[in-house]
Amino acid sequence: MNFYQQISANRRNSFLLALVIVALLCALGFSIGFAISGAPEGGIAATSIALVIGILMALGSYFAGDRLVLGVSGAREVSQAEAPQLYNVVRELTIAANIPMPRVYVINDTAPNAFATGRDPGHASIAITTGLLQKLSREELQGVIAHELSHVRNYDIRFTLIVGVMVGSIALLADFFLRFTFWGGAGRRSRDRDSGSGGLQLIFFVVAIVLAILAPIAASLVQLAVSRQREFLADASSVELTRNPVGLQGALAKIATDPEVLEVANRATQHLYFANPIKKFEQRSSGLFATHPPILERINRLRDLSGERPLSPQEARLLSGL
């Protein structure tokens, strides 16, 4: 697959995944509506409300999500005069990736990390911590920036913004329903009705509870699985752009061994970053709920690309004890 095919495959997958999440949202909305009102009309009404809220939130994140994320992370836009080398590295790689120059931001934090956000390559921003600028060599910085620009070029940034919000609205809806049920709202109303649609209503009530518990988990599991896959893809694309697997490996090793935790990151923004900003090295392990693949596995996949022997666990311990 060349660049262009990879991008279109990625966009197609994003679209399919968004459809799955919209379907989940609809199913949840319908069963909640039916369970509360006891009639299909109620189900349709609740589905419409859920969809409208979902679409509004998605639109909001499409147009303003990047500013929100940058604002929450305390990122400050820098000019070429303030950070000439960073600007140069970004410009070089936009040529390799054939995308327009993104806006460049700096986060004042000593933990080395970076992220990219925006809705498409024409409206993209890339943020780097001051710690990353100080601790990495030019070659390693190039690897990290190429990784982030791959997220921009592959439209991962749009996917992250929109799907993050959709998953959030499923969780919101489920939460709302579970609280509602907990306070007994649905129980009182169903007792007022005649028993004609009561059986069906009861079934939907059970379905709604099951969906309300499972849908948010399922949606975030899918989102996280795709997120981890895209980290690998961005690592591979980074090497494809720089033609230099050593720089990115060095950057990963340095970030893995850095003891500092990024203070401005939180659970809502952790999946955006170059490496998970919250966890320490030992905890950056594999798992269904991880936002990123483990760093050792990322390094070993890169070594595999250049035909090098993978690092053993002993060498990895050495790496983490540096």
Binding site: N2, P84, N88, V89, R91, E92, A96, N98, R138, L241
Partner: protein, 187 residues
């Protein structure tokens, strides 16, 4: 109307539409190549403009190694002149210049006062980034040439590419880095 006639007309229209789509795709890919080529030229020119500044900045410090500077200046002049004499000659001259610059940077490493000079550092960073931009532009150029060459060599574009004059384009040869060993004097 005769159903056979309808089928024939529909088939002709379909073939025409597909033909137009293929032709437009080929034209677009060829334009991408020209655009990528123009990009390289811009950066080569930028490098030519930066070199005199660098030479001026380091000249006073490097009393004993004038020949390295002379080589850079000569290689630059040759590269500027080669710009008019075709892509192959130009690529050769530019590769010479790249080699000359590498040996200059290697020599700069031996002068602590040069390594601490902000002006020299800034010029060195500018030349490094221009250098990288040149090689990334060539990489991008090769990627679009590969895409175009693959398209014109495969079915169905193959049928149209030949008669309409879409010919194969050449790749940029890689820089002969391995053969060009920088001359470093260890004093």
């Amino acid at each position: 109307m005769d159903p056979v006639l309808i089928i024939v007309i529909v088939a002709i229209v379909a073939i025409l539409v597909i033909g137009i789509l293929i032709y437009n795709g080929l034209v677009q890919k060829r334009l991408r190549i020209d655009e990528a080529f123009a990009q390289i030229d811009v950066q080569l020119k930028r490098r030519h403009d930066l070199i005199p500044n660098l030479v001026a900045a380091v000249r006073d410090y490097m009393g004993f190694e004038q020949e390295v500077l002379t080589r850079v200046t000569e290689a630059r002049a040759a590269a500027v002149a080669a710009g008019a004499s075709g892509p192959v000659a130009q690529a050769q001259a530019e590769n010479m210049l790249t080699g000359a610059l590498r040996s200059l940077f290697a020599v700069v490493e031996n002068y602590p006062e040069l390594k601490a000079n902000q002006n020299v550092l800034s010029l060195q960073e500018q030349l490094t980034t221009t250098e990288n931009q040149i090689s990334f532009s060539r990489q991008h150029y090769n990627a679009v040439v590969l895409d175009y060459n693959q398209t014109i060599a495969t079915f169905p574009s193959l049928l149209l590419a030949g008669p309409l004059g879409f010919t194969r384009r050449e790749f940029f040869a890689a820089e002969p880095e391995a053969t060009e060993v920088p001359v470093v004097s260890l004093r």
